[in-house]
Symmetry: C2
Subunit: 326 residues, 2 copies
């Protein structure tokens, strides 16, 4: 395994959506980097259910870094039950979005604090600290930026598309409501300023990384960074490892491949980690001016997370040296 020491004392900044993002973030933490890790998380999936503010991606990253995530699903809390949700069903309400009893504590306390006027950034820091997470978990912004999925039959709020309708609709467009009024938080800007490396996790490029880099000013900030920015492709052998990224890329006119992903980030990306199964694509991706590292990118175990994170950092480190020499 290659060293990650050369990332020096700067921050390791990860951009993450849900399960894939949480896994690689966890891998970074497992490399002894938890104190230097800062995960900027998509909040486009956030929504209100039964009056509670749910932040699915923040929760997945939080639970994973706290070591309490459900390893079967990747989301939710290990061993959680759903007595509250079943009772909500008994009260005649729809229950298509699974909420665990332990999980509800997060939603209840977050909602309480937000209603009291706290910023999502501060609330997230409080929850993470209480669970002993030393990495910083930062929402991409404090404003609500709800992802809306356009389908041939109309617009759908993201969770309606993703959970309720099980991604069966064809996605012909995606927008982030109110994104023009959102701003990167001071914490996000400070993290990028202090970054030694930026890692785009293997999350959906359209609806997970997409909202983050759509926050006005964020993409420009990434372009201007003088530290290596590397992505791990969420597309392997023409398929998304999880979720609808493959179909979404296709119907939105993108190539369903690591090259298709690399193109979406081409204006700021220095390198991309792709799977062994896609090794043949390395030359055409390099034609975009993006370096390629080929390895096994499928994270089945904690050891996989740690190894992939270490290899990704070592790759970034080599790119950083090239930048300095260049």
């Amino acid at each position: 395994m290659e060293t990650v020491a050369a990332t020096g004392s700067g921050l390791v900044v990860a951009l993450a959506g849900g399960v894939g993002g949480a896994k690689l973030s966890h891998g970074l933490a497992l490399n002894g980097l938890e104190e230097r890790l800062c995960v900027i998380v998509n909040t486009g999936d956030d929504f209100t259910l039964y009056g509670l503010h749910i932040s699915p991606d923040l929760d997945t990253v939080l639970y994973t870094l706290a070591g309490i995530a459900n390893p079967q699903t990747g989301w939710g809390i290990l061993g959680d039950t759903d007595h509250t949700l079943r009772m909500i069903g008994r009260y005649g309400r729809e229950t298509w979005f699974w909420l665990g009893d332990r999980d509800l504590a997060t939603h209840i306390l977050r909602t309480e604090r937000l209603r009291a006027g706290a910023r999502l950034t501060d609330v997230t820091a409080e929850l993470a600290a209480a669970l002993g997470v030393r990495a910083r978990i930062l929402p991409m912004c404090d404003e609500a930026v709800p992802t809306i999925v356009e389908t041939p039959t109309g617009s759908l709020p993201f969770q309606d598309y993703f959970v309720r309708r099980r991604q069966k609709d064809t996605v012909v467009g995606v927008r982030f409501g109110g994104i023009e009024r959102a701003r990167p938080t001071p914490e996000v800007l400070a993290a990028l300023d202090a970054a030694a490396v930026v890692v785009l996790c293997p999350s959906n490029p359209i609806v997970s990384i997409g909202p983050i880099v759509a926050v006005p000013g964020l993409r420009e900030r990434l372009r201007a960074l003088h530290v290596p920015i590397v992505a791990v492709s969420p597309i392997v052998a023409g398929q998304a490892l999880k979720g609808p990224a493959d179909r979404m890329l296709a119907t939105l006119g993108h190539e369903v491949s690591p090259r298709g992903v690399a193109r979406l980030y081409a204006d700021f990306l220095d390198g991309i980690v792709i799977d062994n199964q896609d090794a043949a694509l390395a030359p055409v991706i390099e034609e975009l001016g993006i370096a390629v590292y080929v390895t096994d990118t499928v994270m089945r175990s904690e050891a996989d997370r740690q190894r992939l994170a270490a290899e990704t950092l070592a790759f970034a480190e080599r790119l950083g040296k090239r930048v300095e020499q260049g």
Copy 2:
């Protein structure tokens, strides 16, 4: 067992606090009166916890009439668990007020509806209907009227006194915040207009029945009623069957006996049901112009609830005839 038929087609209106009130209300329902039963419930105990609106007495009546109450405690839901609350504790918050997972569904949905502008009366009706409760459960008013307990060392919100500090403080005064702005709801007034009998359940006369009859106009309405109004004493042999009513009566200067209770209601009460253990007090209570019925008032079983309710109604019926003849 005596007949309850003579209450005719009018409503059986019960005034109730928590466990004792719920039990006798249930007893009334068990006498085939659920469709004609209307329970006016104390909301002075209501408070906000973790941003959720909790209505302890409404919930106890609701769960009891729905047949899902925990028979051990009298409050909460049978077989409920507390995974959410434990997780809230893990987040570093105090957890002195027990909230069950199933129970939380009630608080979450109530809070959602109230925040959307619904009246507590309507929310309560919706929850009761969903659980198949045919009796009407009416909050005493829709305004917040928080009970404040005065102690030698200062004021305490009711649940701080009752649950957090386990009623260890001496009560030197009780007030209901904002009661001067509260009004009986149209539903409460309509129920009293349609009443064939009014039953004051064996609930704490100071902090359960007290707030109800303190809602401006309510007590005057009871005084003006032409149907029998009967109470069941919550004090038996100088002690409260449950809770701090005995100590509270004493420190507030009232006699800790069925007579002390009867005096608090003397301006509108026609009769009181007292326990066999207090039979000797019947003559002195009758001196107040209040009729007395002596029986076993301790409700240990559902059969007890049903019998006590039937006897109370039969007693009221006899009083009603006396009123008509008088």
